[in-house]
């Protein structure tokens, strides 16, 4: 039965990147499921440019969720890929900064287009 439980965060491939669209507010169980799905789909692909977290659907991110997202990003980094988060809302950013969240060494983009550009730049530097 557990095999059929999926997180509510859809994953899709586009232009060599995995795009994860966060549409619902997060909870711990969901994040854990998502983490497993994402990491296993990363290792399935070769020729992957990177991962984009589209967070534009989130109205609220608390520190725990943020920490969860950050730890997923570190895990992805261990598999050798870069992650860009895109489309954060002004109010979300404002509240994260207000809560003194550690936002250093995160790649962020205004929208998906910019996220591709950032990933391309990072990949070019690696070569």
């Amino acid at each position: 039965m557990d095999q059929w439980v999926k997180s509510s965060i859809p994953l899709q491939m586009h232009r060599g990147c995995i795009i994860a669209s966060f549409q619902l507010d997060l909870d711990e169980k969901n994040l854990k499921l998502f983490r497993q799905e994402l990491l296993s789909s990363i290792v399935e692909h070769n020729n992957l440019k990177g991962i984009i977290f589209d967070l534009s659907g989130l109205e609220i991110i608390d520190l725990v969720d943020f920490q969860g997202i950050k730890s997923i990003i570190s895990m992805i980094k261990l598999t050798g890929f870069e992650t860009v988060i895109s489309g954060l809302k002004p109010a979300v950013v404002s509240s994260l900064i207000l809560m003194d969240a550690d936002v250093d060494d995160l790649n962020a983009a205004l929208n998906l287009d910019e996220a591709y550009v950032i990933l391309d730049n990072i990949n070019r530097l690696k070569l």
């Binding site: 895109s86 809302k89 109010a91 983009a109 205004l110």
Partner: protein, 295 residues
Amino acid sequence: MDDFTRNAQQLCELYGITEQDTNYIHQLKDTALKALPGMIESWYNWLKSTPEFFEYFADTNTLERVQRMQLGFWEQFFDADIDGDYVKSRRKVGEVHARIGLSQEIYLAGVDHFLSLFVEMLGTLDWSHSDLNLARRALNKMVHMDMTIIVQSYENIVNQKITAQSKTLMAMSTPVTQIWDGILLLPVVGLIDSRRAQDIMDNTLDQISNHNAQSFILDISGVAVVDTAVANHLIKITKATRLMGCECIISGLSPAVAQTIVELGIDVGTIKTTSNLKAAIQIAFNKLNMKIVKQ
């Protein structure tokens, strides 16, 4: 509007105005109405000696209208029919005073003037001593209640004005403008405290998302003091813009500011800073793969 004051019944309880009191006031009505035109006359004679008179009532038409309104005001007072409409009309008086900017001083002096004339008027009646005392007490209570309602609504209007003004000031103090496609500029002038830093941040983030900006230049050449607190605010703003996917460049760092920042041991991390606006614009253009060409 309605939740800041008591209603008519609560006001009566507050001032202990009973039916007996309103009866006394009502009995005075005929005598008072006869005396009122004279009283108003005497009040305006006094008012003529103040500078306010020429500011508000110099025009004959205005003066007549105001006097008529005053007569109506006291007529209603001696009807002593304290209900919602009565309280409403008193509030209206306070609002009008606040709108035209008539000082509370003049209004309170006026009330005192009339009250003393009413007490004088009581002396001309052939009532018993205890009746006169009770009537005087009733007058006092009523006048004070009127004053409360009027002063309260006056203050309310003035407060509304102040709130509106400070909002305007706030919006004016963070003028984030787009100077090129994808480049925003905010010149900060004056002091940065935590409240203002928060305003700057919120406003900036909104503008970034509205304009899809990729570079944001924060010009601090007009900021007088940059201490640890201010530097921390600036660092927070840069972090926030970066989280939106927009690069932040701080321009206008004077030699003095550069020295204090290093002397205070503030770690500005990876924040891009320049001494003048030109260099900052150059960085922004480079990032967007654009350049300005002389024709």
